[in-house]
């Protein structure tokens, strides 16, 4: 069942892969130019604090979406509780900053390692199973860690949350006078993730990932260590999500169990990756732009009422997904395919 369904986005990816493989230098150059343009956005396009905040949010959710997408898109493991890793990263950094003098520069690294360890533990149980079980185990873990963050009041501050110490204008403690440097840091991380995903697609490891997704039985028969590959992908994805979670906590200088481990945070990863379109390297980035802007628009038109904001963006995403199940990247691809053909003909990839 899953194999036939999962193969569909795979076909597109292979086509894309061959296209990219032909022109790697061009792609890397284009990526570098895009990085410079994005990095300079706060200088000329969006200089005010509010816009930089939005840019930072977009970068954070792009990275978070990319980590979910690496796992689901390339190894077919759908995590319903990605907040497990996001939240672990956020809490590792916050607890370190609150209780010790460790600089967040090390903190975000430790956050990634901590999240990867959680991924390893979850994975040792979860990779033996597939599909629904995998999703539910990650979901259940996020639930348990949420309970733990609520109960361990001495360490985590409990349900009230944990404020990070304010160290105004101390770059060595990753606190700056504006949010711009943090945005640049996140941007570099996101481009690193993109490069990683893109590199994976072109490598033998990426092939292993996709073989496990498309046909685990055949992969196993060909000598692929299916569980090992799944576990490795999970740890990698967890580390990515943990690093982003740490940046998230650092950007707010506050963390609480609900925003770290809550269902909403898990759903955000899925939202971001899927609105963009699963199976496209840049999908989660488009998804993050759409997601954050929709959410801001929702907050604006509902005058700050969180409930109506959720209602608004959920409704938009729902309509979008029913109209264009291939996501934003899918719409883009269809439009590109439409060009030069008779208008009105429905083009399926």
């Amino acid at each position: 069942m899953s194999t036939e369904v999962a193969r569909e986005p795979g076909a597109a990816m292979t086509a894309r892969q061959t296209m990219l493989a032909r022109r790697p230098v061009l792609t890397v150059t284009a990526g570098g130019v895009a990085l410079l343009i994005c990095a300079s956005l706060p200088l000329w396009a969006f200089p005010d604090d509010y816009s930089v905040g939005i840019l930072l949010q977009i970068a954070i959710y792009a990275g978070y979406g990319l980590s979910w997408h690496l796992l689901a898109g390339y190894t077919g493991q759908y995590s319903f509780g990605h907040a497990t890793f996001f939240g672990t990263g956020a809490y590792v950094l916050s607890v370190l900053s609150y209780h010790t003098e460790v600089s967040p520069w090390f903190g975000i690294g430790l956050a990634a390692i901590g999240a990867a360890l959680v991924g390893l533990i979850v994975g040792l149980i979860a990779v033996r199973l597939s599909g629904l079980f995998f999703g539910l185990i990650t979901f259940g873990t996020s639930l348990m860690l949420g309970v733990a963050a609520n109960q361990l009041v001495d360490l985590t501050g409990g349900a009230a949350g944990l404020p990070l110490p304010l160290r105004v204008d101390q770059p060595e403690m990753m606190q700056f006078s504006t949010q711009v440097p943090l945005f640049e840091i996140t941007l570099v991380v996101v481009f690193g993730y993109l490069l990683l995903t893109w590199g994976l697609l072109r490598s033998r490891l990426g092939l292993l990932f996709r073989s496990v997704r498309d046909d685990p039985v055949a992969a196993d028969a060909s000598g692929v260590n299916v569980r090992g590959v799944r576990l490795g992908a999970l740890c990698l994805s967890a580390a990515m999500a943990g690093l982003i979670g740490a940046i998230y906590a650092q950007s707010l200088l506050f963390i609480d169990p609900e925003s770290a481990f809550g269902l909403t945070q898990s759903v955000n990863a899925i939202f971001t990756a899927i609105i963009g379109g699963v199976g496209s390297v840049l999908g989660p980035v488009f998804g993050a732009v759409a997601f954050v802007l929709l959410r801001e628009l929702g907050i604006a038109i509902s005058e700050g009422n969180g409930v109506y904001s959720v209602l608004f963006y959920s409704a938009v995403v729902f309509v979008l997904i029913m109209v264009a199940p291939k996501g934003l990247a899918g719409i883009g691809r269809s439009l590109a395919a439409l060009r030069g053909r008779s208008f009105g003909k429905r083009v399926r990839r």
Partner: protein, 288 residues
């Protein structure tokens, strides 16, 4: 000793209701192979229906439950035709995001409409004393209703034509279609039955459990875990899974803390998965 018996019995009584909505979830998942994230919200909406019908209009709960079943069965049929019938052939991730967003829409709309406050009926405190053991009256009635519904569903699935068609579609929908079975109709009926069970569970639950707009997510986790503990693909398994989880919840709530309820549910779930990955009554691990 009395406390232990009371705790276990209360668990079993609440478990009946958990059982029937787990069965509803399993029925929908087994036929359509879609994880219906709105299932918990359906129960929540049915709880609101029950709450307002009983508290505002003074209707008898016994009259409200059948009405909720009919209403939610019809809503389920409508939802199937409008959304799930189309989703059936989409990739997993599309199904996932579509039902998750629908669930978010329902939850947020309910929050906007009724507010965050928990509401509970007076019937919540009705109690009776059996040999020194204190039990909620409506919990006892709730278990009775659940057992009746589960039995009715069993008869429907095993003793009628449409039941046979549904079972055939669950086992192998291609082979079923080759035998001339209208699988779309089987799916429609199965999905509506799932929604109907959610309606019944919600209206019953409202008589002894406070309702909040966000309760749907908690109930969904339970249905999820109940199905997997009982064994994916087994409806009796889902019922027993629901019962078991409710007992675990009650024991945790009594002897430790209600805040840890779901953590223990998850531990039980993990334990069973490690010991017997197919669940208690699972025939095959056909979950992905």
């Amino acid at each position: 000793m009395n406390l232990l018996i009371e705790t276990l019995l209360n668990g079993l009584l609440v478990g009946g209701v958990y059982g029937i909505f787990s069965v509803g979830f399993a029925l929908q998942f087994g036929t359509l192979r879609i994880i219906n994230f709105t299932h918990g919200d359906f129960v929540m909406l049915a709880m609101y229906l029950g709450f307002f019908a009983i508290s505002r209009y003074g209707l008898n709960p016994f009259a409200v439950i059948p009405v909720a079943m009919v209403v939610f069965g019809l809503v389920g049929a409508g939802l199937f035709t409008a959304v799930f019938d189309r989703l059936k052939d989409e990739p997993h991730e599309i199904q996932l995001i579509a039902t998750i967003t629908m669930s978010a829409i329902i939850t947020a709309a309910t929050q906007g409409f009724f507010g965050q406050d928990a509401r509970s009926l007076d019937t919540i405190s009705d109690g009776l004393n059996l040999f020194g053991v204190h039990l909620g009256t409506w919990k006892v009635i709730g278990l009775g209703i659940s057992v009746l519904l589960a039995g009715g569903l069993w008869l429907l699935l095993n003793r009628t034509g449409i039941g046979r068609e549904i079972r055939a579609s669950v086992d192998d929908n291609v082979a079923a279609r080759l035998q001339g079975i209208n699988t779309r109709r089987a799916y429609l009926v199965a999905f509506s039955l799932g929604a109907l069970l959610a309606g019944a569970a919600g209206a019953t639950l409202a008589t002894f459990y406070p309702v909040t707009p966000s309760i749907g997510a908690n109930l969904l986790v339970l249905a999820f875990a109940g199905v997997l503990v009982g064994g994916a693909g087994s409806l009796p398994g889902a019922f027993v899974g629901g019962l078991l989880l409710a007992v675990v919840q009650q024991v945790t709530a009594t002897y430790q803390s209600p805040a840890l309820q779901n953590a223990y549910v998850f531990l039980l779930f993990l334990f069973i998965l490690v010991v017997k990955p197919t669940g208690l009554f699972g025939r095959l691990a056909r979950v992905d």
